[in-house]
């Protein structure tokens, strides 16, 4: 291994193999990060645009026509069709492109080899393919915005028959076909990535890196990857069957349909089948989005509290439990589809169980802070922010998971508030925390702390301003995916609250510009990083600041202890890197 690496670092790489079709995991991580953030930026701008319509329904905003064109927003007012188009693509981009590919792609790629002591991923080539499939699917998704009829508009859940019948909604024409193609390619990318992560974690750990000495980041990536491999293929099959129904007149999901005055020949299918297949991925997907962030913040909180993460084994156990339970709860999205009430009861039971490992995680985070010695770097701020969002959003899950209560809040704004906080914000906070924390590793430079702090406080204030009021709006019975609430006198009481939400959404978007500037400026001109800026124990900080192929110039260091020896009694400094052998007075705690 080390001899081949010597040869590698000496021969010159062309621009193309170094920056474009790179097989180096660090470069691929950067590619995922930048592509993910760009997609996220587009997704966020979409939410601001449709929030304009929701905050001030029917009012004319020339900027809408300017950005979206006459077709989408004649005279500055978004059309109902295109409102749904924006919501659909916003959701799709945020969940899949930003928080699945962008998040896992970046940090699994960056940290798995670096924190485990490997020269690279098990297969650099598959890794490269994974990125380029992701890139291709992003491009196709963006192209779908421009096609005749507009992009997919049936919601990110694309339930048939709405998504299957071009007669039902303009977005179910070519736009929907491209959505399906894009997602199929996306799933291939995700599977290639996940398989690579799993194989690398299982096989390429350096000497002494027992599974029980792996940082929690790696555990999170491993569990996420396994979850992805188990469930994404089911979404792929759901999409394929939908393609058949759409293009080859099969009837997997369709039956007894009259649309636009014509009876169609579909017979014997059921849209409910699609819902089962979709949510079999769809629910684990929220943990595919969330677990990496929980892993990143576990690491960041421990480093910055200068204290071992509390309950390392319980943290692993709870992640495994959460992942396992997440596969058997999908029916909670379908309580009011007419499913057998007994089945509903079973899904209520399994769903509410998730609260137990989640509570364990929260208490463990809090205990890690207790009697810590806390440094508030921007990464730490976002990590603590994640604890707040995870609590705030998780608790309302007790309502949605309870079938009897879900009857009245299903598909209302209460759901939108809940999932944005517990999944959207938590995952985004974790991703930002990771970006700030590992920026020196990614780009060899430091980000500006002051801008980072301003970014954090503006963000947490404005996003709570966006998503908390939605709970109240939802409890009043306002449905989601409504172009406007003005058709019901009942909802007029919320006109001002909706304006407040939209104003906060605009503020939130501006706050992200601070990050954007900080990111670009620091990557190009920020102060040079030192090798281990955060006094951290993990292996990635033993590699040189400048990226080299193969990661370590000489031998790969061996590991002698777990990664959380912070503030160990008797030690001279408040951290002991994993590469330091146990001294005589330390007893081996089995890590």
């Amino acid at each position: 291994m080390s001899t081949t690496h010597e040869e590698h670092s000496h021969h010159e790489q062309s621009f193309i193999t170094k920056y474009v079709f790179s097989q180096d995991h660090k470069m691929i991580a950067k590619q995922f990060l930048i592509t993910g953030f760009l997609m996220g930026f587009i997704g966020m701008m979409m939410s601001v645009l449709f929030r304009l319509q929701l905050g001030w329904p029917g009012e004319s905003f020339p900027i809408l026509t300017f950005l979206l064109g006459e077709n989408w927003a004649p005279d500055g007012v978004l059309t109902p069709d295109k409102y749904l188009a924006l919501v659909t693509i916003h959701g799709t981009i945020m969940v899949f492109f930003l928080l699945t590919a962008g998040l896992s792609g970046t940090f699994s790629n960056l940290l798995i080899p670096l924190q485990l002591g490997a020269r690279d991923m098990a297969s650099g080539f598959l890794n490269m393919l994974s990125y380029w499939f992701f890139f291709l699917s992003s491009i196709i998704m963006l192209i779908s915005l421009g096609v005749e009829g507009g992009p997919a508009s049936a919601g990110w859940t694309i339930y048939p028959p709405l998504s299957a019948l071009p007669q039902a909604i303009p977005g179910s024409g070519l736009g929907m076909t491209l959505w399906l193609v894009s997602m199929a390619i996306f799933i291939v990318s995700s599977l290639l990535g996940s398989l690579n992560y799993i194989v690398t974690i299982l096989n390429l750990r350096t000497k002494g890196m027992k599974m029980t000495r792996m940082p929690l980041t790696i555990w999170a990536f491993l569990i996420t990857a396994i979850l992805g491999v188990l469930t994404f293929p089911v979404l792929l099959s759901a999409a394929l069957l939908l393609i058949f129904d759409r293009s080859f007149e099969t009837s997997f999901y369709l039956s007894d349909i009259v649309v636009a005055g014509t009876a169609l020949d579909f017979n014997g299918g059921s849209p409910i089948l699609f819902e089962h297949l979709f949510w079999f991925l769809g629910h684990p997907e929220v943990y595919i989005v969330l677990l990496p962030s929980l892993g990143l913040t576990s690491e960041i909180i421990s480093v910055n509290a200068r204290k071992p993460i509390f309950g390392y084994r319980a943290m692993i156990g709870s992640m495994l439990t959460i992942a396992f339970i997440s596969i058997i709860v999908w029916g909670h999205h379908m309580f009011v589809t007419g499913m057998n009430p007994f089945l509903g009861a079973v899904f209520t039971f399994t769903t509410l169980l998730v609260a137990i490992p989640s509570a364990v995680k929260v208490f463990n985070y809090l205990t890690t802070l207790w009697k810590g010695n806390i440094r508030f770097t921007p990464a730490m701020l976002f990590a603590v922010g994640l604890i707040s969002t995870f609590i705030s959003g998780g608790l309302t899950g007790l309502i949605l998971g309870d079938s009897a209560l879900d009857i009245n809040v299903h598909d209302t704004y209460f759901v939108v508030g809940h999932f944005h906080i517990v999944m959207g914000l938590s995952a985004v906070f974790g991703m930002y925390a990771g970006a700030y924390h590992w920026f020196p590793k990614l780009f060899g430079r430091m980000m500006n702390h002051n801008l980072g702090k301003a970014h954090f406080w503006l963000t947490i204030t404005s996003v709570y301003g966006v998503f908390l009021p939605m709970h109240f709006i939802g409890l009043a019975g306002v449905p989601r995916r409504y172009y406007s609430n003005s058709a019901f006198p009942l909802f007029d009481s919320f006109i001002d609250l909706n304006e407040i939400v939209s104003a906060f959404a605009i503020l939130a978007a501006f706050a992200q510009v601070l990050f954007f500037i900080n990111f670009v400026y620091s990557a190009l001109r920020g102060p040079k990083a030192t090798q281990n800026p955060w006094d951290s124990n993990t292996l990635e900080w033993t590699t040189p600041v400048e990226h080299i192929h193969g990661n370590w110039p000489g031998e790969i260091p061996a590991v002698h202890r777990w990664p959380y020896d912070y503030s160990k009694p008797g030690a001279a400094s408040d951290f002991i890197p994993q590469t330091v052998p146990l001294s005589e007075y330390e007893k081996d705690e089995g890590h």
Partner: protein, 325 residues
Amino acid sequence: MITFLIFLAILLAVTAIVQMLSIYDLTSVIKGRKAFEVTEKENKTQAFLWLIFVPSYFIFILWQYLVWGKYMLPESASVHGEKIDGLFATTWSIIIPVFIITHSLLAYFCFKYVYNKDRKASFFAHNNKLELAWTVIPSLTLATLILYGLKTWNSVMSPIPDEADKVTIELFARQFDWTARYAGEDEKLGRSHFRLIKGFNALGVDSSDANAHDDILVKGEFHLPVNKPVEFVFRSQDVIHSAYMPHFRAQMNCVPGMATLFNFIPRYTTAEMKQKTNNENFDYILLCNKICGAAHYNMQMKIIVESEEDYNKWLSSQKRFLASN
């Protein structure tokens, strides 16, 4: 012109921030400060910000509750809905204290344990008793919630006993309106088939079925008798819709190709509810709650609950299916 000015302003703002950044970097180099260092003062400020952020967060929620809380749904207008509301209240009474306690701890720890270079953090890596405690306590709490939830769910979803006196109504959805069909005197809905759906026969009712002859189709608004079980049958002709009647704590999807069911007993007439809510314009509504296309946001029907007498009067003034053809 305005667009141009906005772009100019944004450009200026970005340049200003970038300039400030480079000046900041330069001065910190001069002061010999390391780029990754967080000074004691900065740490203290952040810790203090957490201490004020969390109470402000509580106040923000409280403020919304005080201003908009009164627009939440009024007390349940159906019998089973009262059980749901009870479960709601219990769940909130668990959620709110947990929310407040955990957030308060978060703020307090952030404030209290802020970095101090003369102090060392406590090396507290695990404690079986504590971990057991916070596995067992949530488990017990959840066990209670689950049992209570399932009991409520089972009673809400249980069918109306066969011998009970009930009203049967079919709610038929299509893009983008609702039709209600009453079973008529025979209390049986006539057969229907999607191939029979034609302009005048919007539900595809089969007129060769004798049960269909006295069926009654209404649009715009439909009426319910108070205190009498109503059995709803839901159907859709095109895409999935969802029949949502928030005041009755009732919702069920309308799925093409199958019929779904829900039933409830209305508890207050529209007039009574107008009084309860102190709102002359109050009306019960049925709205569509599953994305179904451009006019999804305006797919509604008014519901009127009245005494059985008034209800019967209204019903007999409606046309029978056979007569309407």
